[in-house]
Symmetry: C2
Subunit: 193 residues, 2 copies
């Protein structure tokens, strides 16, 4: 009889739990999500989730990291920087305007504010890959070398985040386009596309 392989079995459970977390986030949203529901969907024990992750927010974060790690975060490059940024900014604004996605991000932002280790993880594993993808697109678009791309990329996402977090204005497609126009004036009027 072959010896069982606990490492492989653990990896299968881990995958099942992360997949279940993502599916339930889509179906019910963060607030309604429970560790019990994740365990039931994944065919795992609640205790396994608590032992491996510690609780709901950590397993959700890992499920989201996993999406970024396995997904394609690269921006389209049609040769038209303004059009490509519009797509990305409209999509980002729509995500923040969606009550279900917004609740997840809000909950994770609270965790991030309260926990330095969590803040570092969110920044390096979730945020940085997405910001870097936009930086790559700006670089390919011929943004002049004297523009600091780290500052430029936050010129795009900072205002959206500010408006969402502090509820200072509507998150609409019209807003997205006005923002892109200002950003393009800042960096792109000298870019080649």
């Amino acid at each position: 009889m072959p010896t069982p392989d606990p490492a492989r079995r653990n990896e299968r459970s881990r995958r099942a739990i992360l997949d279940a977390t993502r599916a339930l986030l889509d179906e019910t949203g963060y607030a309604e999500l429970t560790v019990g529901a994740i365990a039931a969907r994944a065919g795992a024990g609640k205790q396994t989730i608590y032992r491996w992750w510690g609780g709901k927010s950590a397993v959700v974060l890992d499920a989201l990291f996993d999406t970024v790690a396995t997904g394609d975060v690269a921006l389209p490059d049609t040769g038209d920087l303004r059009a490509d940024l519009r797509l990305v900014v409209r999509a980002t604004v729509a995500e923040f305007a969606d009550p279900r996605l917004s609740a997840t991000t809000r909950a994770l932002t609270v965790e991030t504010l309260s926990d330095e280790t969590m803040a570092g993880e969110v920044r390096d594993r979730l945020l940085r890959p997405q910001l870097d993808a936009v930086k790559d697109r700006l670089r390919a678009g011929g943004v002049p070398a004297d523009v600091d791309l780290d500052v430029a990329v936050e010129l795009i996402f900072g205002p959206i985040y500010h408006r969402w977090l502090l509820r200072t204005g509507p998150l609409t497609e019209d807003y997205a386009d006005r923002l892109v126009d200002l950003v393009m004036a800042a960096i792109g009027d000298r870019a080649s596309g």
Copy 2:
């Protein structure tokens, strides 16, 4: 014998408590601040603070509202929009880089994220007056009419907030100046000053 005036006495206590809160925030910072210390400094009872405000975060918020309401939030107008924005942005970046002020803002941001009523109060009483002051300066600086000033003002503060909250980069004077240069390119190259 004249009847005592409880309304006036209450107003004196309220002022003493808010003044004590601000003084202690400056001296010890948010994390170390306790309702007991505020009460002792103000010569009031802890129960009064709990009864009127409910707890530490609410009395701190009221103390900060009070600063904005009584203080002068107008921007300098030297006729040089870039120079005036630089002053404001450098000061804002320095505030966010200060560990003590940063801790207060961080704690209030957590409250804001968790409580819709608090979020509305913070926005309308604390944030809006400051954003409006910058809008007024932009308007006086001759920013073209087709620039949406609500979007423009968040183009200034959104990136700072993003960088501070998500710890994506250093909060330095050099950063402040680079940000102002991008913002000026977005809105100001067509402004008159």
